[in-house]
Symmetry: C2
Subunit: 371 residues, 2 copies
Amino acid sequence: MSDESRPASTNVRGAEYPRVHPDGRVTFRLYAPEAQKVVLQPGGADNGLGPGPYEMTRDAEGNWTVTIPPAVPGFHYYWFIVDGAMVNDPGSETFFGYGRQTSGIEVPEGAEAAAYYQPQDVPHGEVRARWYWAKTTGAWRRAHVYTPPDYDANPTKRYPVLYLQHGAGEDERGWATQGRMNWIMDNLIAWGEAAPMIVVMDCGYTIPISTVPGGRPDMATYVRMQEAFANLLLQDVIPMVDATYRTLSNREHRAIAGLSMGAGQALYTGLTHLETFAYIGSFSGGMREGFDPQTSYNGVFRDPAAFNERVRLFWLGTGTAEPRAYEAAHTIAKAMDEIGVRYVLYESPGTAHEWLTWRRCLRNFAPRLFK
Amino acid sequence: MSDESRPASTNVRGAEYPRVHPDGRVTFRLYAPEAQKVVLQPGGADNGLGPGPYEMTRDAEGNWTVTIPPAVPGFHYYWFIVDGAMVNDPGSETFFGYGRQTSGIEVPEGAEAAAYYQPQDVPHGEVRARWYWAKTTGAWRRAHVYTPPDYDANPTKRYPVLYLQHGAGEDERGWATQGRMNWIMDNLIAWGEAAPMIVVMDCGYTIPISTVPGGRPDMATYVRMQEAFANLLLQDVIPMVDATYRTLSNREHRAIAGLSMGAGQALYTGLTHLETFAYIGSFSGGMREGFDPQTSYNGVFRDPAAFNERVRLFWLGTGTAEPRAYEAAHTIAKAMDEIGVRYVLYESPGTAHEWLTWRRCLRNFAPRLFK
């Protein structure tokens, strides 16, 4: 390539495509010599690559290419459609989203803005794959557990715990890959902004998906999933974590947050279990429909003064370029204003329903915990 | 489905295809309504799914299917070719192989034979993602580090270390996903067969792939990669591991092994650094061409008696159904017989150049370490 485009940081080793141009345009390429039609499909309605689909053009060798207009910085899912078949890009890493392994591309923002989620020359924690048997689901499950940089060096020190959930279609791998949570936490801890803490990431899917007609859960199913997830977390995950890691195992040292579907799970689990959590965060999420301060979430908002005293942080975050989540966050804020419940509302400028919003949410949320 | 086939264990949640039949046949399916031609392509010449490619047949809804003859048990890479484009199966997890994310399927063997690589109700270790800066490559790298079940509970205990490498086209993720090394080690330790040990898995690719013409390294490149990998391991990885984990940091408590390309790296690094390693294992690998006991590997075989005294284990493994590796292992064994060097030769019955061979290699190799 004679221009100044560069292979994306999400490419597999040695892959020349996709390439990001200095102005944010992206060139995609796929080899499909016998295909009749190839298009690039960004994942999701608010995707920073634009809505698409983008038609691709075949060259003499059978490579199909397209260069799209400047993309919004951040992490964006995408795939190709080759004669009607959904196709991952062999040049990109895959990421678990949409309930399957999906191509993703990182469109960089400026080095300064990105510093907090890049690896820096600071002490690094670990993300540990921890298998455990879950009684509530009757299956082996894997949690990913972030331990802070000084964890092994201080074998008697105990740490607070943040339970942090992914979104719909994703799983326990999302936060440490798409979300880069380990680097965010490493940096915030090194910079003195966040307390050293353990972060536990589990999979929010706790009931068989195959029972959901059509594959996409309806609202009633999401509610059942919230309840099943709360049972999993309270009866399996938290006891396992407290038995396995050096935790401070009380509500004052336990937080819960999640993004999108995971925000709904964090709100449900946290708000109905204030005996277990003192910090609750909703990243691009909303409350259950039909909010009623007298009855919703087991009536936890019935006594706002008691709520304000008991809850150390009620945190809401949204990107400004994701209309549904933006409205949902402001709807919660308005309801809280009306009854006098304290909260923090964070807005990520210009970002959509994707992981750059949630990296920024974590960057704003984590420093407010356990202080 | 009215038959007794079951979704493969490697499927993503809820995916009904691919399905494995009780007799080992496998049914694959892909939705590609506008495609002209779809085939199933097993990965690699000795793949347990058979050589393929297998033509798939379209139904009225646009689903293409094929049922293949009984497959060899084990883990097999595969993909579809849709009108000339390489396509992953949205129903399967992906695994890093062939230098890209690739679909894979687990074809089960009997529960008894598989017990050692399944999760059992025994204490579980962790696989930890550890980022570090490598001076020799000038980049951030990720190692995966297995710590045994009792590691955190014994904060003063120190452990021996096995350095364990993946094969060509793969990376540091291979052993803990395709290889199931964590469950193998958990079980061997619980059953009293292997000593509790730390296992370090890094990426064997240490020089830019894009410098290799045509994408597939030639022999000279593999040799350069062996040397670069040895430098990485000795100058970056081992010092980092010894500084970060509670290791027994001497040759008597350090082993190195790898599979295929990684076997070549383990042989080169181990045999030229007996001051660092006392245990060396080659899984489905071969020595460098033109073996000469006087000069090869810096002349380490020049004094067989000294070699036998210094090397605690020289271990060779191969499947019986992978002709090239089988011949390579026996070629080494014959050369060692001729000069009187002790070794162990293990043969995995009926398995090919795939991960079931390497799980069995680890199962045989690990119990011989650090005793």
